[in-house]
Amino acid sequence: MATKLSKIINHWVPENSKVIDFGCGDGSLLKELIETKNILGYGIEINNLKIEKCIEKGVPVIKQDIDEGMNEFKSSNFDLSIMARSIQCLKNPNLALNRMLELSRRCVVTLPNLGYWRCRINLASGKMPVTPELPSSWYETENIHLCTIKDFEDLCKKENIEIKDKVFLNKDGSRGGLASIKPNLLAVEGVYLLEK
């Protein structure tokens, strides 16, 4: 997954730039960008096992609960902040979006689309969606703030966040042809380049 995502956002990432990745997981995305764009990357992660994987890859990582604050990274002059598949897990996604855009002029956000047709079928049958992309039951999921593509773009408008570029993904993580025509229904995931 990280390889595909890194290819998709690659041309948004300046060479030799300083990048912070919130919810960096095992560090694969940063590792890809280090190798392809020679970035200086730092990951923020809460899970110790994933932190261990980052260190194994030589990716600098900081243990931090994103909900507990992002301000302390302000002085670090990042060129780009990334939040891939994590924003829906936060207590205050709108606050986090704004904070990221204070850390760096631009940010990349990716999120699962609850408006995807499979989710809608689930809901139509009267149940919370459980799909390959959103596999956990409602009582176990970390995704406490799921939204649709439309919801997210509305939020950006409300917060005066400019969408500089966007890509919609198929269920295999590839750039979607059909998904781009009717993303709110057909995209599994939205990938955004934002600026404020």
């Binding site: 096992l49 261990e52 260190i55 030589g58 600098p60 243990k63 302390e72 002085s75 670090s76």
Partner: protein, 361 residues
Amino acid sequence: MKIKTEQIHFSEGLSLESGEKLDSFDLIIESYGELNESKSNAILLCHAFSGNHHAAGEDEELGIGWWDQIVGPNKAIDTEKYYVVCCNNLGGCAGSSGPTTINAATNKVFGKDFPLVTVDDWVNSQKMLMDKLDIPYWHLVAGGSLGGMQALQWSIAYPDNIKKAGIFAAAAKSSTQNIAMNEVARESIRKDKNFHNGDYYDHNVTPKNGIKTARMLGHITYLSEELMDSRFGRKFQDEASKVDQDVDFEVENYLQYKGEKFSEFFDANSYILMTKAMDGYDAGKDRNLEEAMENIKAELLIVGFYSDWLYPAERGKEIQIAGMNNNIKSSFVVFDGEHGHDSFLFHSTEYSNVIKKFIES
């Protein structure tokens, strides 16, 4: 595991941060493992305030090394792969030059006249050791608490001679509370009637009670409240194993026992010297931390423990942030740690794995 112990003499002496000079000095060191042909596998371990050169393995006199859970064959710091060196710091009392060694100028023990040494002085003496061992650079310098301060100082003072620094349960400077605790400990030593203003050697006595009280206080600060509760609770000490009739609770007995044992071997002037070095360290010096760290080339691994209230994890994070602001590759990891400040001494799978992977990445 084979332990190699050496006493190394430095006839060239050392100019100290205080302006004084040691005309010559000795360092006692232990080493484990073998230096490889390319001399790329050397690791320096820095001990905390009461530690010594005996970091790993079992020694007849010194017992089990202070970092034996982390250092050894196939452990986090693997002596099968790395050449690992640890020295007793200047001013200590385990074999390196310090208050208990003979001053060549007077032919008497230094005693209280041993000059004030600092973390910077230690690191400078360790650099001389590195040169004498003909090692071009350390692959890693690591330590906990005061040892972590030395690892940080290494990366600041000798950026070209250190690839990685492991800074565990440490801070860029001691807090006001740290200094206050140390002062209570020092006061208990100074007020012992056997202290004789530091000249107790002449009277053939040692201020044992003072050292003991100091150590008892120290022990409280090294442990977490939770650990003390779970280990001792409010249980009473059984009559048969009481160290003293005045003891009621198990925790009292424990502190009495630990304090007593420590007072039998640790030198009072060393205690004062080592705690002064700890209190005095400030990586930022007259500049701020961020500026002080701007020339670092080493990668940093900073580890904190939630149960550590003496050097709380947040203090380690300050180092990481200052490093990141300087574009230094630096990581900050926090573990629960059951043992309070002492947690850096103990193996846990996640802690050992992170150290191991950091070394090998």
